[in-house]
Symmetry: C2
Subunit: 210 residues, 2 copies
DNA sequence: ATATTTTACTTAACGGTGTAAAGTTAATTA
DNA sequence: TAATTAACTTTACACCGTTAAGTAAAATAT
């Protein structure tokens, strides 16, 4: 019994080590430079050993993808105590962009890169953490609507649109499409866009304008 | 004279053929499946011949990237006659999303894929068409502000934010991140989000609300 | 008219990728 | 003690982008 549990533990440890190494390479050098062979070399196993622990490369990045969503939900959990839904909505927007700025490679993997999505379609993988994050936004917007904000709007479509707004900012930054912006505004562009998005929220309910 | 001009013409023709073939493969099978070797096979030349016409793979996709921007500007040119800037802004948003839906692979190349950007940084390539497209948006927003819309906002930052909004919608769709949305709303999600964005514009200036 | 150079292209090769099949060695079970 | 299983490696396949060296024909120079 103790031997077989030790073996199981060791298997689990190697799996974790592969994932940890993939994560390191990935954060240091990005997705493209993280190859099965690179990972294998760093953990001092042959490349094919990795296939005993993960179905394929997409499977590895799907696991990291999940880690990313768990991390994002940690960012969000800190906002659960914000009782006013409109304030929470603004806080979510800021926090989302912060997450992207602070975890660029993760963000790319979660919302831009195609690799982890291949894996989801393959093996109907649990997408729970992703739904939780989006649910937090949708729920907040539903509460906003109940309080009289965004009158008559569909909460899910609005949630998607709000997500699109912040995702747009993050992905244009991460994928380097901001060269058209003047040098002056390119400095801290994400922050400026974030402030602009919040300003848009505020202007949408007329009574809030002083 | 006639011989050398013919030769020049033939060189130009082969360059165009490479580009045309790359475009076909790229639209049919996407970026990943479009390799130098695939292109070469289809035009019945050796792979290395392509390097006599293009610096590298990024260079080919940078050329297609430019084609994409020319096409986008054609979409936009049709809106130049819309005299009211606020109407034009709404039309630009619709048109931008239409462009993305109708030219998915091009859109991906222009605003998501990293390949063409590598090439821009390498050889400070002319980015004129990209600037023209963004300039059209910025100009329209500047006119809006002059007419009393979006009072007190910075036109360039607002232009970037509007771009982020529509880009967010398009890129989440193209990169398949919309599974979290309920089946009901996932149908024509881009259209719904586009309508929502326009609704947001309208709610931003209080007097327009009936 | 012959020799040289240039042009346009190809062959071969390097170093990299993901991944599958077959082989090996040691531990476990029969 | 023999058969089986587990864990891992070696080898190999089919790709990829790209470079260096080679070739044959055309253009130019002598």
């Amino acid at each position: 019994m103790t031997i077989s549990t030790r073996k199981e533990r060791q298997k689990e440890e190697l799996r974790a080590k592969i994932l940890q190494t993939a994560k390191e390479l990935f954060i240091e050098h990005g997705f493209e430079q993280t190859s099965i062979r690179n990972i294998a070399e760093r953990i001092e196993y042959s490349p094919t050993t990795i296939y005993l622990y993960f179905k394929d490369k997409d499977d590895i990045f799907h696991a990291l993808h999940l880690e990313g969503f768990i991390l994002l939900n940690q960012y969000f959990r800190a906002l659960e105590h914000v009782s006013d839904p409109f304030e929470r909505l603004k806080a979510i927007s800021k926090s989302y962009i912060n997450f992207a700025v602070e975890n660029g490679e993760f963000y790319d993997l979660m919302f831009i890169n195609r690799s982890p999505i291949n894996s989801i379609n393959k093996e109907d993988a649990k997408w729970e953490e992703g739904k939780r994050a989006f649910g937090f936004l949708t729920g907040t917007i539903t509460e906003c609507i109940e309080k009289g904000y965004f009158k008559g709007m569909n909460s899910e479509v609005l949630a998607f649109t709000v997500w699109s707004m912040v995702h747009g900012v993050c992905s244009l930054e991460i994928r380097n499409r901001c060269d058209v912006i003047s040098e002056e505004n390119r400095q801290d562009l994400s922050d400026k866009a974030c402030a602009m998005i919040i300003e848009i929220f505020e202007r949408m309910h007329p009574k809030a304008i002083q």
